[in-house]
Amino acid sequence: MTGSTNDWTTTTLNTAINWARANSLWPMPFGTACCGIEMMATFMAKYDAARFGSEVMKFSPRQSDLLIVSGRISLKMMPVLQRIWEQMPEPKWCISMGACASSGGVFDTYTLIQGVDQFIPVDAYMPGCPPRPEAFLDALMMVQEKAKKGQAKSQEYVTSDEASDPAKSVAFRTPDTHYRHGVDRSTPEHAHHPVTTESSPAAGDLK
C-alpha cells in the first residue's frame, strides 16, 4: 500500500491490488436519518452505484471496506459507530454524508456529535441536507481515487505525540472541548425564580 520497496514487481502488484480495491468498495451503511434514504436511492436502479462496483451492501462490518455515516449521530449512537469502525478490516474508508454527520448540522445541542470526524477518520465529506445522489456518487468516486492511489485517512501516519494529544493532530479537527470548560449557565442566579408570598398566586387566581 505504502510503497514498501521500489521493486518494479511489487509496485505493479500494488497498483493492481489498489485498482481491484477501488472498484469493489463494499459499503457498510450506517443510515440514521433522512440521508439514509438518499443513500438507498443511490443504490437503486436509477443512480445505480453498481456501476462503481459498490452495489454490495454488507450489513456486516467485517465484510465491508467503506463506512457511510449518513445521518445525525447522537451521544448514545457514537459508541456503536466506533465499535463498527473498529470491526471493519483494513484498509477501510469512511464517507461522512450530509451536514449532520459532518458538522452536527442545525442540531447544536447537548446530545448531538458535532461532526464524526472528531472521533473517526473521514475520507470524504458530502455537503447537503440531505445530499443528492449525484453528490453521493461524487464522494464515492473521490474515495475510489484515493483507493487507487493506495491512500486512506485511517492509514495516514501521525506521530505518537500527535496521537496522544488530538488537539495537536493536523489530521483531525480538535474535539468539542469548547463547552467542556465553557460557561456553566446553571448558576444560582438563574436557579429558580423565587415565588414570594406577594407574587404567589392564590388558589382562585388559577381558575
Partner: protein, 182 residues
C-alpha cells in the same frame, strides 16, 4: 365508538370539584378538554378517582409529560408540573391533571399500578426532568445513555451540554511509521 360529547365536561367538573374541594388549585378550560391543577401529592388520588368512579370511567391513559416553569413570565405555584392526559371512552371527553412539584424535592407517587402504560413515560420524565416517581418498578434512564449525568430538558441545563459531546476516544490514523519512508 367514542364520540365527543362536550356536555359531559360539566359532569366531570362537578364530580372533581366535589371530590377534591380545597385541594383543587384551579382548573382551566382548554380547546376540548379541562385541566385540573393539583399539588403533586394529590395527583394520584385524583387520577384514581377519575379512573375508578363508575360515572366517569377515565379508563384510558393518553400521555404523561412535564413542564419546567423556570424563568416563566407568569408566576406558577411550583417550578415543575407533571401533566397527565386521560380519556373516558364512556363519556367521550378528555381530562388533564396538572400536578405541581417543588424545585428542591421533585417527587410524586407513580401511577404505574393504575396504568401500566405510564411506565415508560414516567421513565422519560425522570430521565429528562429529574422528577422522581415513587413506587415505580424500574426507574432508570430511557433515552439518554445510562452513565449520563444531569437532566437535559431542565431550563437551567446548558443547551450545548456540559462537554459530553467531546468525551469519546479519538480513532487516530496509524502510528506505525510506514516502511521505506525514513
Amino acid at each position: 365508538m367514542i364520540t365527543y360529547n362536550p356536555e359531559n365536561h360539566l359532569k366531570v367538573i362537578a364530580q372533581v370539584e366535589a371530590r377534591m374541594g380545597e385541594r383543587l388549585l384551579g382548573r382551566e378550560e382548554k380547546s376540548h378538554y379541562h385541566q385540573f391543577k393539583v399539588k403533586g401529592q394529590d395527583a394520584k388520588d385524583l387520577i384514581r378517582f377519575l379512573r375508578e368512579e363508575p360515572s366517569l370511567a377515565f379508563a384510558m391513559f393518553i400521555d404523561l409529560t412535564a413542564v419546567d416553569y423556570l424563568r416563566y413570565p407568569i408566576a406558577q405555584p411550583e417550578r415543575f408540573a407533571v401533566v397527565y392526559t386521560l380519556l373516558s371512552p364512556e363519556l367521550g371527553v378528555k381530562a388533564q391533571v396538572k400536578a405541581f412539584v417543588p424545585d428542591g424535592d421533585p417527587r410524586l407517587p407513580s401511577i404505574t399500578d393504575l396504568f401500566a402504560g405510564a411506565n415508560w413515560t414516567e421513565r422519560e420524565v425522570w430521565d429528562l426532568y429529574g422528577i422522581e416517581f415513587m413506587g415505580h418498578p424500574d426507574l432508570k434512564r430511557i433515552l439518554m445513555p445510562d452513565d449520563y449525568e444531569g437532566h437535559p430538558l431542565r431550563k437551567d441545563y446548558p443547551l450545548k451540554g456540559r462537554g459530553e459531546r467531546g468525551n469519546f476516544p479519538v480513532y487516530h490514523a496509524s502510528t506505525q511509521r510506514p516502511k521505506g519512508e525514513g
